[in-house]
Symmetry: D3
Subunit: 68 residues, 6 copies
């Protein structure tokens, strides 16, 4: 009955890519832990780059200069 949460920056994944993440993360738990897929949940949280910081700066600032 696992629950998976994935936090990614807003804008890095299309709807198609999010579907692939949901499908494959579920497979990992079915194949590696023998879980019933009926009860495997995957939630994706897309975080605004103003609201995600690394080394003291927001991703908005960091990504203005480099590509992560």
């Amino acid at each position: 009955m696992p629950i998976v949460r994935v936090e990614i920056a807003k804008g890095v994944a299309t709807a198609e890519q999010k579907r692939a993440v949901i499908r494959r993360m579920t497979e990992v738990l079915v194949e590696e832990l023998g879980r019933d897929p009926e009860f495997v949940f995957v939630l994706i949280d897309e975080v605004d780059t103003d609201n995600w910081g690394r080394k003291g700066r927001s991703l908005t600032e960091l990504w203005a200069k480099t590509d992560e």
Copy 2:
């Protein structure tokens, strides 16, 4: 000083229903655990159905066919 978080799919609750959830979840913790309601917090997170998967598919896909 409990904190409750409720994740529901976006669109399944009206503002009125969310108020009822907040009120009753608080009552549960006051009545069952003797907590001071002043310090009982309830946060509701409404998750886009594209971003919530079960058995490897998004709720958007699953709910297009059935009613959960």
Copy 3:
């Protein structure tokens, strides 16, 4: 398909009380939002009082003086 998480301080609830919280939180979502109980999940997280702070002090310190 809601997921409820309840954070409480470690030691404030017995096994019996936790069962009551699980049962009643589930009822709230069934009765107020019409959710199917088969897919209502409640997770309880018991946090050490050294690891929970309010107004800049840990609950261990705060509760040494008063009863919250």
Copy 4:
């Protein structure tokens, strides 16, 4: 490699204030725990006041009367 999450009510912080929170929270973990800032993450979650309850009422209702 710490991860910090900050939940605040939507509307209480400007972009400028959020940048200050990210910068200073990172400093706390670098200075107090000796963590490498390269791997200190801060995520801010701005919660709608309809979706945040205290003492059984939403912040929308509570703040209509008083100032927290």
Copy 5:
């Protein structure tokens, strides 16, 4: 820079299985979203079966009867 959290019931995964979950969840984000593995984090939270409820009962109770 994604963060993945996996909640599973305590006891369903060995150390070996948890390593496989970490490795494969990381691969999913690298392959599907093009993320840099250096900044892909996976956290596993093993929840006591007394503290995880479904349909109003704890997993401890549910699993005493059936196999999920």
Copy 6:
């Protein structure tokens, strides 16, 4: 009424250091956002190094070789 959660690897902070983190994280929210300290909560979650992965390996494995 902010809630702060800090996830750190188990073993990187003493009780004394955790108290400092709680105190200073609270100060950040009081000073930068003007929040009332009475309602600033800080929760620290200490994650086992077997349960925290980066670049597809657990911290237990990564730290056996280098210092993060």
